[in-house]
């Protein structure tokens, strides 16, 4: 009897302990629902807040292009302006060698970045009409911004790759199929986007309330003129393209004053550190000293590393120098071609742009490294200097005079004297447009905004269109405007003026180099223009680019479709050549 009581007690204990599990669990269907809190799902995109953050991301995606080594490599090197420097030799792209192939990671990154943020823009446009809680005017302005950005991404793609995939809508399901659309369709789409953007955007980057880096109609007009120009030089050319380009560019120039825009007096101040929001600057890709917002990890593919790309190995090549923030972190991905330094910039006295574009003198910043005169001293040097330091802290340690010097002159100069014949892949004139002294550290990437376009380029776009339309006096006038400014302050303006007799497409391309070298445009300028039906990329690389002159092939006027794109199209038709038989 007693035993039964104990038994019952224990059974009750068992039930008491087991029951909570039984009771709680059967209603567990809800326990299997997922309610994410630490990740946001695409549904957030269709809220007002998500809409804004999508637009911010679409802007942020531009950091994958301007400022990165990827776009630098694909637009600056491998042209007539720049060849590979000592530390860029791992690259194959700019050599056009057999190692350059569709597997190239830089091309793949550019390709993928553009499409990722095109999809973001598409999401904004597809969701736009249904979004509640944003004022319609503001929403329309935001959609205009998204169109501006989308057009920019597509313009990069179409210039590199020709016939490409044209996504007009948001991708909400995974697909492994893709097809190529014609560049004609892509150009039409870009043009429509830009026309819409011009209609919906604030008129000028300097208009009231326009934050730095924001899309604006002036920038949209500039790029639209370039789009027409690029299409005119492509297989998709339309008869009206040059006229449209001309109208768009001259329209912007003539209205620039009313927009608060205009060429600066001094070419040198256009790229001056801290002056990126000037009246000549149409659109910038922003960076900030607030490090967490400068790039996701501060060392990634979205940093502005242009500050490093041309920095020569002064710290090892030049005695008396050590690394500092002003002279930069020696990365030396590129050095100028001899054509650029010696021919394009032949006139270094009236045309002030060479010396405002390139650093050619280094001042001693390392007392410990100062070299001593040998004993006996070279001819022409005071014999009493034997064994004494050649210069002192703060003196010139290296100078590139831009003209030839004899070996005797070099030996008798107290600092390292480098005439052009001694330029080499470690040490050559240094492109100073991107100097940044506000970086956290001398090895850190830049915190400066990247100036994408300037009004001076609008003049050159207008000039190129005018020339193609055979409007010679207009062309001369546009170019002389730029050249007059280039003489400021000490050049002889009269000597800088050109006449119709000087004019040629080659001259315009050379002028672009003088004005814009080191901007991320050159490769596109060369593939857009032709000499006797041959792409100027082929013509000029064969003439001036010692890396690629023996290797470049006709197919190099387009970039190869990335291997990963071709490989990952696993369903539907293969990602085929689509009338661009050159590469794929």
């Amino acid at each position: 009897m007693k035993y039964n009581v104990i038994k019952k007690t224990y059974i009750w204990i068992a039930i008491a302990l087991g029951a909570p599990a039984l009771v709680f669990s059967p209603g567990c269907s809800k326990k299997l629902d997922e309610n994410p809190q630490s990740v946001l799902t695409p549904a957030f995109f269709s809220t007002a807040q998500g809409f804004q953050s999508g637009l911010d991301a679409a802007y942020g995606g531009m950091r994958n292009l301007w400022g990165t080594e990827n776009l630098f490599t694909t637009t600056c090197i491998g042209t007539d302006e720049f060849i590979t420097g000592n530390d860029g030799t791992g690259n194959n792209i700019n050599y056009y060698s057999s190692g350059y192939n569709p597997g190239d990671g830089k091309l793949n990154t550019l390709w993928n970045s553009c499409y990722t943020f095109i999809n973001t823009c598409n999401g904004l446009m597809d969701n736009g009409p249904d979004i509640k809680g944003i004022d319609e005017t503001k929403k329309n302005a935001m959609i205009a911004e998204a169109k501006f950005l989308r057009a920019n991404y597509y313009f990069v793609l179409v210039q590199f790759w020709g016939n490409i995939t044209l996504n007009k809508h948001f991708q909400s399901t995974p697909t492994t199929a893709a097809q190529r659309d014609s560049r004609a369709d892509v150009y039409n789409f870009i043009i429509q986007d830009l026309k819409d953007a011009i209609a919906g955007l604030p008129a000028s980057p300097l208009a009231t309330g326009v934050l730095p880096g924001k899309a604006n109609a002036a920038a949209a007009r500039h790029i639209l003129s370039k789009v027409y120009l690029a299409r005119a030089g492509s297989p998709a050319a339309q008869a009206s393209d040059y006229q449209d380009a001309y109208n768009m560019a001259t329209g912007l120039i003539s209205s620039s004053a009313s927009l608060g825009l205009g060429l600066l007096t001094d070419f040198g101040s256009v790229y001056q550190e801290g002056n990126e929001m000037n009246t000549e600057s149409l659109w910038t890709i922003q960076h900030t000293t607030n490090i967490p917002y400068n790039g996701p990890n501060n060392s990634s593919g979205t940093d502005n590393v242009l500050v490093h790309m041309w920095v020569p190995k002064y710290e090892t090549f030049v005695l008396g120098m050590q690394r500092d923030i002003v002279n930069g972190r020696p990365y030396i991905r590129a050095i100028p071609t001899r054509w650029l330094t010696d021919t394009a910039f032949k006139d270094k006295s009236n045309d002030t742009r060479f010396n405002k574009t390139f650093q050619t003198v280094w001042y001693c910043n390392n007392a410990a490294g100062i070299p001593k005169w040998p004993s006996p001293v070279p001819a022409g040097v005071d014999p009493t200097l034997a064994g004494k330091p050649r210069f002192t802290l703060g003196d010139t340690a290296c100078y590139m005079p831009g003209v030839n010097m004899t070996d005797a002159q070099i030996a008798a100069t107290r600092y390292l004297l480098m005439p052009p014949r001694t330029y080499n892949i470690q040490m050559a004139p240094y492109m100073r447009k991107y100097v940044d002294t506000k970086r956290a550290d001398m090895n850190s990437p830049s915190v400066r905004p990247v100036i994408v376009w300037t009004l001076s380029e609008t003049y050159l776009v207008a000039a190129e269109a005018a020339y193609m339309l055979n409007k010679i006096p207009e062309t001369v006038a546009l170019i002389n405007t730029i050249r007059t400014r280039a003489a400021y302050p000490n050049g002889n303006v009269a000597n800088m003026q050109i006449s119709a007799a000087d004019l040629s497409l080659d001259f315009i391309l050379d002028e672009r180099s003088r004005e814009l070298c080191g901007q991320m445009v050159r490769w596109w300028d060369l593939v857009r223009t032709h000499t006797a039906g041959v792409s100027n990329l082929l013509v000029r690389v064969r003439l001036h680019n010692t890396d690629g002159m023996n290797n470049i092939r006709a197919k190099d006027t387009l970039r190869p479709i990335p291997q990963s794109q071709m490989n990952s199209v696993t369903s539907g038709p293969a990602y085929g050549p689509m009338g661009d038989p050159l590469w794929n």
Partner: protein, 1029 residues
């Protein structure tokens, strides 16, 4: 005279012998003794009888001792479940014997743990490998996974990425790789409750046995989680009627690197740098001896080093000897109603790099209490606190690249806390991280894994059991690197903090019913309802530029530039399970299992699935026709088929996601969001069905016993991460159910008693062998995939090839090096290769034009090989003689390929001579080798460097060599102890038959995945002591 004496002596001796013999016929003697296992553990309950008599004899006491009075010169017979029967001849006088019993690996009466229950081995129908406590303790390993290495067929345990650091846990694969994304790691179940922690949270000294469930029938009871096999861990518990027993064991030892990476010495590096600069700057220098090379390419410190014949061995400066210490204290005992076991452990392991160590404190408690006749409750709690230091410390990038011509110290003897001269400003002095506080990285984990059960007998044969388990872990991580450290290279100091709190609980209700009908029909039913939830919560942030290095990572307010992230990834599983076992006359056995699982991680509509399985077994021995076969001790045949699932993907994978993109408009900063993944509402389970047949056998009183398994598993609707085309605009891989894979294999276990002495002092030699073959391959991709490789469907972007194992190496075929002659130049040119200038292919990898289109392009790549071995195996050999025992554990992996970053990627074989290189006989015009590319200062890496990194991954590893000695009982007893054992073990002392190590001077070919370059593999010598009170 002489003859007479001889005669007398002879007569005397004969008489004496005769007398003795007669006395032996009648004399009885007292034999005392002690029975131990092979490692000296005491065995109570052993039956000791005299052979040939019907006397019941005696059984051994809890301390393994016995005393028996027997006729002189008898033969004692010792037997105990789980051990091979042993006969011992006694002498003529009283004696005290130490007798060792040899464990019987295939004893059919042995009870083993299965999913949700235990079963006599003879009743088991599935493929289960049991690993004994002894086997686990044979190797003084850092964790349970390491201890299991080489111990069971079908269980492939390898260092993850070749990682040999303290506190690292190896990769476990059971029966090969079947999944691309859903994970291939087996499920760990400890004391019946699924375990979510790290293997390092378990103290292997607390483990009593490990059972590895391999086929579908045995794993089906774990349903959705059993696809990769299940490892059941049973911890030590007290025994009924056991006197309190205190055990203490300890070992300590020294760990040394297993070798240095094969780098160039000063002279070799000098030559490389000369060649690289000569070949990399065509036309600049007259020859490699042009003095201009010295001034242009070498740092002044290097020139000084050349002049003084300096040859800095940076590795020697970086490696040190690590110290390992282990202490384990245990107390266990039990009465009729209460059993308990307590264990406290301390383990500390220092790596061969000063910043690396792992320390673990564990406390284990288990209590089982009988409450009256019908109810039993029990509790087990495993508590761990561990500290891992330097888990990411990898000084190799510096130590392997630093110029051997440079010195780590300046002329005053002070450490150069900067770049190493002559290293292109890329290599920071690796010794800088040894400065106090320069590099600190610590992970502290504290956690408890506690299980509770209540078992109530509701009626005859009907039992209810409640299992509850709770696991709570806190993981706190911090790192700090000074500005002048190899991590920050002179840029701002940096620090990071990470915190994870994970909570998991499991609730299970089980009903079991046992019934035997007419003595012949045995029925067992198990029903289960289970709910498990796991909630890991993680936050991390990092910052730079600390105001003071002293702050380390303890106060973020002293830093700047904060960046943070976090996740909350909970998941839950609800399960219903039923299992029926039916046995007829112990001869024919049948198991049917059905489990239904619901997982939160799958999309609505796909959450629930049912996993069925069936198995049969036939105890052939029980058949009458086997009665007269004397040499066969046991024979069973088994067969099973069933299906299990695998949803081991991260939560939220079906929902799509947005990710952040920071930006600013002037001083206005923003965090944008863009879609990086799209929803996949149709995501479903991945299923694996396995057919398994097995035979268990024992011959000659189980002197030879073992099992053989053959299986074929089919995985379908594989969850695969598909890389979408760039044009899709979706950067992340998307999980999609595509494809099928198959694995088939054979597994053999054999245990033999080669020599079993009949005296207490003789030699006993036993062997265990396991051998297994697994062949896996992808058999199908989505029908929509229209790309192929060699005529079979292939997803080249994701490297999935039908007909090839998962994880195959896909690359170009290197046939040699393009030589500097007109024939090769013409041939290269014909393939579109650049043969002039800096980018010339001469001296570079010569690739085969496999697709024959007269150009080297992506279509020439092929499957070079895979890491899947031809076969693997392990063996344990034990020899005992008197009180000594000697054990060797070895395992081999033969036929797989490895991809080594040391030679085929990374930074150690660039031949650019910007920094030091592995010592390879690189190509020069004077050395027209076909093995290695040319030295070339003008390229960051030789082209197609990866093609130089494929090697045979075969090896035979001596896992441990142990020599032990059990101090004889008479001495031990005098000081009031039960047993004392001392031993010495060499851990991982040798790697044999490894081409990678022997021919190419790599260190250790063992790796799951690509073999990385990290602090080297090591070996250690430890000395240990086990004491029982």
């Amino acid at each position: 005279m002489k003859k007479t004496i001889a005669l007398h002596v002879w007569a005397f001796c004969s008489a004496l012998l005769l007398t003795c013999a007669l006395q032996a016929q009648t004399k009885t003697i007292v034999v005392k003794g002690r029975v131990t296992g092979q490692n000296g553990e005491l065995i109570p309950g052993v039956s000791v009888t005299v052979k040939g008599t019907s006397d019941k004899g005696v059984t051994t006491q809890p301390d393994g001792s016995f005393q028996i009075t027997v006729p002189a010169a008898s033969t004692l017979l010792l037997s105990y479940v789980g051990y091979i029967r042993k006969e011992v001849n006694t002498g003529n006088g009283d004696q005290n014997l130490n007798i060792q019993l040899v464990a019987n690996k295939n004893e059919l009466d042995q009870v083993i743990v299965i999913g949700y229950g235990t079963r006599k081995k003879s009743d088991v129908t599935g493929a289960i490998t049991s690993i004994s406590q002894q086997a686990i303790q044979d190797v003084p390993a850092a964790n349970l996974s390491q201890a299991l290495q080489g111990q069971g067929a079908g269980i492939d345990i390898q260092k993850s990425g070749g990682n040999s650091k303290p506190g690292q846990s190896p990769n476990i694969l059971i029966r090969g790789t079947r999944s691309v994304k859903a994970g291939n790691s087996p499920l760990f179940v400890i004391d019946g409750i699924p375990f979510s922690g790290s293997i390092n949270d378990i103290n292997q000294d607390d483990v009593a046995s490990v059972e590895v469930l391999k086929d579908a029938s045995s794993t089906a009871i774990y349903g959705s989680r059993g696809a990769n096999g299940v490892i059941l861990v049973t911890t030590k518990r007290g025994r009924t009627n056991q006197k309190p027993t205190i055990t203490y064991s300890t070992y300590a030892g020294v760990t040394k690197s297993l070798g240095e990476y094969p780098l160039m010495n000063g002279e070799q590096y000098l030559q490389l740098k000369k060649w690289a600069n000569y070949l990399g700057n065509p036309g600049t220098y007259t020859s490699i001896d042009d003095p201009k090379i010295l001034t242009k390419a070498f740092a002044p410190e290097e020139l000084q080093g050349i002049a003084m014949g300096r040859n800095t061995d940076w590795q020697k400066l970086v490696y040190k000897n690590g110290v390992t210490t282990d202490h384990q204290l245990g107390l266990s005992g039990g009465t009729e109603n209460t059993q308990y076991a307590l264990g406290a452990g301390f383990y500390s392991e220092g790596g061969v790099y000063p910043g690396q160590s792992f320390t673990r404190y564990t406390l284990k408690l288990s209590v089982d209490q009988q409450l009256g006749k019908y109810v039993k409750v029990g509790l087990s709690s495993l508590n761990t606190y561990s500290t891992t230091k330097g888990e990411n410390a990898n000084p190799m990038g510096q130590a392997l690249r630093a110029s051997p011509l440079a010195s780590p110290y300046d002329t005053t003897g002070a450490l150069i806390n900067s770049y190493v001269p002559g290293s292109a400003n890329q290599v920071w002095n690796p010794l800088a991280n040894f400065l106090p506080g320069a590099a600190v990285e610590t992970r502290n984990r504290i956690g408890t894994f506690s299980t509770f059960y209540l078992e109530a007998t509701l009626a005859k044969g009907l039992k209810y059991r409640f299992n509850g388990g709770a696991e709570i872990r806190s993981d706190v991580y911090g790192n700090f690197y000074a500005r002048n450290s190899t991590n920050n290279l002179g840029v701002a100091s940096s620090a990071a903090n990470e915190n994870t709190l994970s909570t998991s609980y499991t609730l299970e209700n089980l009903l079991t019913y046992d019934k035997t009908i007419a003595d012949k029909h045995k029925i067992n039913f198990t029903g289960l309802y289970s709910y498990q939830s796991f909630t890991p919560q993680y936050t991390a942030f990092s910052y730079t530029g600390l105001l003071s290095d002293q702050a380390q990572y303890y106060n973020p307010a002293l830093g700047a530039n904060y960046q943070g992230k976090g996740t909350l990834n909970p998941w839950a599983i609800i399960s219903y399970m039923g299992r029926v076992n039916y046995g007829y006359n112990d001869k024919y056995l049948l198991t049917l299992t059905m489990r239904s699982d619901g997982s939160s991680r799958l999309a609505p509509g796909n959450k629930y699935h049912i996993f069925p399985s069936a198995a049969v077994a036939w105890n052939v021995m029980k058949e009458p026709f086997f009665n007269n076969v004397s040499n066969v001790s046991s024979l069973r045949l088994r067969a099973s088929y069933g299906s299990v699932g695998n949803p081991a993907i991260d939560p939220y994978q079906t929902l799509g996601s947005l990710t952040t993109q920071v930006y600013n408009y002037g001083s206005t900063v923003t965090t944008g969001l863009y879609p990086n993944s799209v929803p996949n509402p149709s995501l479903d389970w991945e299923y694996t069905s396995t057919a398994n047949i097995g035979v268990d056998f024992g011959f000659f009183q189980n002197r030879i016993s073992g099992s053989i398994e053959a299986y074929h598993s089919y995985t379908k609707s594989m969850i695969m991460p598909v890389t979408l085309p760039g044009t899709s605009g979706i950067p992340n891989q998307i999980l999609t159910n595509i494809g099928k894979s198959e694995n088939k294999g054979i597994e053999v276990h054999i245990s033999t008693v080669n020599i079993q002495s009949r005296s207490a002092h003789g030699v006993t030699w036993t062997s265990d062998f396991n051998f297994f073959i697994n062949r896996g391959e992808l058999t199908q991709l989505l029908p929509s995939i229209n790309t192929t490789l060699d005529g079979k469907p292939a997803d080249i972007q994701n490297k999935w090839f039908v007909g090839q194992p998962i994880g195959s190496f896909y690359d170009y075929q290197r046939t040699g090096i393009w030589q500097a002659n007109s024939k090769d130049s013409a041939a290269a040119k014909a393939l579109g290769q650049t043969v002039t200038g800096t980018k010339s292919v001469i001296g570079q990898a010569k690739l085969a034009d496999r697709n024959g289109n007269n150009t080297i392009d992506a279509g020439d790549q092929y499957v070079v090989g895979s890491s899947q071995p031809k076969w693997e195996g392990g063996t344990t050999q034990r020899i005992a003689y008197r009180n000594f025992d000697f054990t060797v554990v070895a395992f081999a992996r033969v036929g797989g390929m490895i991809s080594s970053t040391l030679f085929g990627g990374g930074f150690t074989n660039t031949l650019q001579a910007n920094y030091n290189n592995v010592n390879v006989a690189y190509w020069t015009p004077n050395n027209p080798t076909n093995d290695w590319p040319k030295a070339n200062s003008a390229q960051t890496n030789p082209s197609n460097l990866s093609t130089f990194g494929y090697f045979s991954g075969s090896f035979l590893k001596i896992r441990s060599l142990t020599l032990g000695y059990n101090i004889p009982a008479q001495y031990v007893n005098k000081i009031g102890m039960r047993s004392i054992r001392v031993y010495a073990t060499a851990r991982d002392p040798f790697i044999l038959f490894s081409p990678y190590r022997n021919k190419y001077h790599g260190i250790d070919p063992e790796t799951a995945g690509t073999l990385g370059v990290d602090t080297p593999a090591n070996w250690s010598m430890v000395f240990g002591l086990n004491v029982s009170l």
